[in-house]
C-alpha cells in the first residue's frame, strides 16, 4: 500500500495515479503529497540530480545532492532513484525538465538546480522541486552561504522538499546533542557530544574527566543544559556551544539534576534534592529567581513543559510507583495521567503539543511509547532490554532514543541511538563514533 497520492482522487498507487492522470489528460488539480500520519508507507520515488556548476562548484553540487538524498532516504518516506538510471543530463534541464524522461524511470518527484560561486566567494544554490506527472514546479528556493556551510544548504533543501510533499515542517537542518560513552561500565567515561542530525560535523564538547548526563537544547539559544559531576558535585550546568563557556545554574548545597529549558528559553526547570527528597523547581535565568513547584515526600523528576508553557509533565512515585503526572503551571494542580500496567518515566512533551512520549518498564522489558496529554490512547513504538530517553524531532513526527543491549556472555553490549517514526515504523540506527545515550534533538536551526 502506498500513502503518497494525489488529492484529485482516492487512488493510492503511483501507477494508478499515472494511469488516471493520463486518462484525464489534466493535471492542474493534482497534488503530489505523502500522508505521513499513516504507518508503513511505500517510499515515494524521487530523482535528485546533482546541482550543475563549474569545476569545484560542480563537485560540491554533487555532494549537496548526495546529502539531500541521504536525508530524504532516512526519513523512510522517499526513495531516491540511482543517478545512473537518469536519462536526461542535469545540464540539459536549465530551462525545463523533459518530464517524459523522468516518468520513464518512475520518478514521481524531481529535484534539480544550479550552484554558482559569487564574487565574495560564497556559494549560491538554486534548486527546484518538480511534480513529474503534473509537469509543474512545486517549490524552489535560492540559498547563499559561505562554502563551508554547504551541508546546511543541503539540509535546508531536504527540509523544503519534505515540507512541500508532506505538509509538515522538516527536521533535517538540526543537530543532536548526546552523551558519548566509552570504557567499562563501572568506570564509564561519558562526554557531551554534538553532531548534525545526519551524524556529520561530530564534536566532543567535554573531555570526559567529569561524568556528564542528560543534555537538553535551549529552544532559543546555542546553549545546552545538562548534569555534570564537576568536583564530585552533581549540579545542573549551562554550556554555550559557541564559546564553550560553562556555568552552574544556581548555587545549591545539594544535587540538582534533570534540567530542561522552558519553551521561551528563559527558565530552567529541574529537580533539587533536599535531605534525599527530590522536588521540582524553576530558575529564571535572567532574574535568578528560584521557585519551588512541588512539595512532596516522593521523588519528583524528569519535568517537561508543554510547548505553550502552561503545563508540566513529570515523573513521580507519589502514588507508590513511578508514574507520569501533569501539573498546571499556574495553579500547580497535579493529576496522574499514566494508568497502564508497569512503571512510567521520562515524559517528553511533543513540540506539536499533541502527545507525550515516555519510557515504560513492565515485566523486565523497557518500552518507548506515546500517549495523549490526558493519558489516553497509549501506543508503544518499540521495546527492548533497555530503551530509554525519547526526544522529539522539532516537527513532532520522529523520535530519537537510546537502546542498550545486555551483551552476550562476558561480551558487553552496545548502547546506541535510534530514530523511529511516530507511527512505530522506520526504526534506524543513528551512527555515532562510539556508544551513545541521552540524545536530545535541537530545534530547527534558525
Amino acid at each position: 500500500m502506498s500513502a503518497y497520492r494525489r488529492h484529485t482522487g482516492s487512488f493510492r498507487s503511483a501507477i494508478l495515479a499515472l494511469a488516471l492522470l493520463a486518462a484525464s489528460g489534466s493535471s492542474a488539480r493534482a497534488e503530489l503529497t505523502i500522508d505521513i500520519t499513516r504507518g508503513n508507507i511505500e517510499p515515494m520515488p524521487i530523482a535528485i540530480t546533482r546541482l550543475v556548476g563549474e569545476g569545484d562548484e560542480g563537485r560540491l553540487g554533487q555532494e549537496i545532492a548526495r546529502v539531500v538524498s541521504a536525508d530524504l532516504q532516512r526519513s523512510g518516506l522517499f526513495r531516491p532513484i540511482d543517478q545512473r538510471a537518469f536519462i536526461q543530463k542535469p545540464e540539459a534541464m536549465k530551462v525545463r525538465p523533459r518530464f517524459g524522461d523522468w516518468r520513464q524511470i518512475n520518478a514521481q518527484a524531481l529535484v534539480n538546480g544550479l550552484i554558482e560561486r559569487e564574487a565574495d566567494g560564497r556559494v549560491k544554490v538554486t534548486f527546484r522541486l518538480w511534480d513529474v506527472f503534473a509537469e509543474r514546479q512545486l517549490t524552489g528556493f535560492i540559498y547563499r552561504s559561505v562554502r563551508t556551510s554547504w551541508r546546511r544548504i543541503a539540509h535546508k533543501i531536504a527540509d523544503d522538499i519534505y515540507k512541500r510533499i508532506t505538509g509538515e515542517l522538516g527536521y533535517f537542518d538540526t543537530r543532536i546533542v548526546y552523551i558519548a560513552e566509552s570504557g567499562p561500565a563501572d568506570r564509564r567515561v561519558k562526554r557531551l557530544a554534538i553532531m548534525d542530525q545526519d551524524g556529520a560535523n561530530h564534536a566532543f564538547l567535554t573531555n570526559g574527566r567529569d561524568l556528564v548526563l542528560t543534555p537538553r537544547f535551549s529552544p532559543t539559544a546555542q546553549e545546552i543544559t545538562y548534569l555534570s559531576y564537576f568536583h564530585d558535585q552533581p549540579r545542573v550546568y549551562i554550556l554555550n556551544i559557541d564559546t564553550g563557556q560553562q556555568e552552574v545554574v544556581g548555587d545549591f548545597p545539594n544535587m540538582t539534576f534533570a534540567p530542561r529549558f522552558s519553551p521561551d528559553g528563559n527558565r530552567v526547570i529541574m529537580s533539587l534534592a533536599t535531605d534525599g527528597n527530590s522536588d521540582l523547581y524553576t530558575m529564571d535565568l535572567r532574574t535568578r529567581e528560584f521557585r519551588r513547584l512541588t512539595e512532596n515526600p516522593a521523588i519528583d523528576t524528569s519535568p517537561s513543559y508543554s510547548p505553550d508553557g502552561g503545563q508540566i509533565a513529570f515523573n513521580s512515585d507519589r502514588g507508590g510507583s513511578q508514574q507520569i503526572y501533569v501539573m498546571d503551571a499556574d495553579s500547580k494542580k497535579v493529576r496522574r495521567i499514566s494508568f497502564g500496567a508497569g512503571r512510567y518515566a521520562t515524559p517528553v512533551w511533543s513540540p506539536r503539543g499533541d502527545l507525550i512520549a515516555f519510557t515504560k518498564m513492565h515485566k523486565g522489558q523497557f518500552y518507548i511509547g506515546v500517549m495523549d496529554p490526558d493519558g489516553k490512547r497509549e501506543r508503544l513504538l518499540t521495546s527492548g532490554f533497555l530503551v530509554e530517553g525519547p526526544t522529539w524531532a522539532p516537527n513532532g513526527r520522529v523520535l530519537l532514543f537510546f537502546r542498550q543491549s545486555p551483551g552476550v556472555g562476558s561480551e558487553e553490549g552496545e548502547t546506541r541511538l535510534y530514530s523511529i517514526d511516530l507511527t512505530g515504523y522506520n526504526e534506524r540506527l543513528m551512527v555515532t563514533p562510539i556508544d551513545a545515550s541521552d540524545p536530545a534533538w535541537s530545534p530547527l536551526i534558525p
Binding site: P184, L213, D232, G276, A345
Partner: protein, 184 residues
C-alpha cells in the same frame, strides 16, 4: 585508592593461604560486605582480626589496615549495605553493618565520610539519580540516629552510573542497589 585495595587484598590472600583461614571467611573479607545479600546475615571481615597462629606467619603478615582508613572500614566494619528493588528502606541485615559503621565513626571522630547511593540498571537515569539520593540519605539518617554528627556525613547519588557488578541479571543488580560509605 583502587591500587591500594588491590595490594591490600593480594596481601590478604597471602595470609589466607599461609594460615588456612576458612575459605568463606576469606572471601567475605575479600568482597567487603558484598556477601550480605546472598547470606542475608550481617557479615564482614572477621577474618583479618584473627590472630596469626605462629610467629613465622606473623612476620610474613602485612601490618593490616591502618585504623580509621577506608581499608579498615571495608575489612573490619563493612563499607556497604544493599537495598531492595526501587526501595530505600534499611533492611535488617543492613542495620547490623550500619551499627558497626556508627561505632567505628565514633571511634575515629576525625574521620568524615561520603555516603554514595547507587541503583541497578533497571530504572531510568533521572529517577535513579533521585533514588540513589534517597538511599544515600537513608544511610546517613540511620548513622545520625545512632549518634554520628550529621556534619561528618556527606551524600552523593550516582544513580545507575557506577555499577559494582557488571552482569545483567538479578545477582548483579542486587549488588548494585547499594549504599557505600567512603572515607573522605
Amino acid at each position: 585508592m583502587r591500587t591500594k585495595f588491590v595490594i591490600f587484598f593480594a596481601a590478604l590472600f597471602l595470609v589466607a593461604a599461609c594460615e588456612t583461614v576458612p575459605e568463606e571467611t576469606a572471601s567475605t573479607a575479600g568482597a567487603g560486605a558484598a556477601a550480605e545479600t546472598t547470606t542475608s546475615a550481617g557479615v564482614s571481615g572477621e577474618a583479618v582480626s584473627t590472630e596469626p597462629s605462629s610467629t613465622e606467619v606473623s612476620t610474613a603478615m602485612p601490618a593490616g589496615p591502618t585504623p580509621g582508613t577506608q581499608e579498615d572500614l571495608v575489612v573490619n566494619v563493612g563499607d556497604r549495605i544493599f537495598f531492595d528493588f526501587d526501595k530505600a528502606v534499611i533492611m535488617a541485615a543492613a542495620e547490623k553493618t550500619l551499627k558497626r559503621q556508627a561505632a567505628w565513626l565514633k571511634q575515629y571522630g576525625g574521620v568524615t565520610v561520603t555516603v554514595e547511593g547507587h541503583c541497578d540498571e533497571r530504572g531510568t537515569r533521572e529517577y535513579n539519580l533521585a533514588l540513589g539520593e534517597r538511599r544515600a540519605n537513608a544511610v546517613k539518617n540511620y548513622l545520625v540516629a545512632l549518634g554520628v554528627d550529621a556534619g561528618r556525613i556527606a551524600t552523593i547519588s550516582y544513580g545507575k552510573e557506577r555499577p559494582e557488578a557488571l552482569g545483567h541479571n538479578e545477582a548483579a543488580w542486587s549488588q548494585n542497589r547499594r549504599g557505600v560509605t567512603a572515607v573522605n
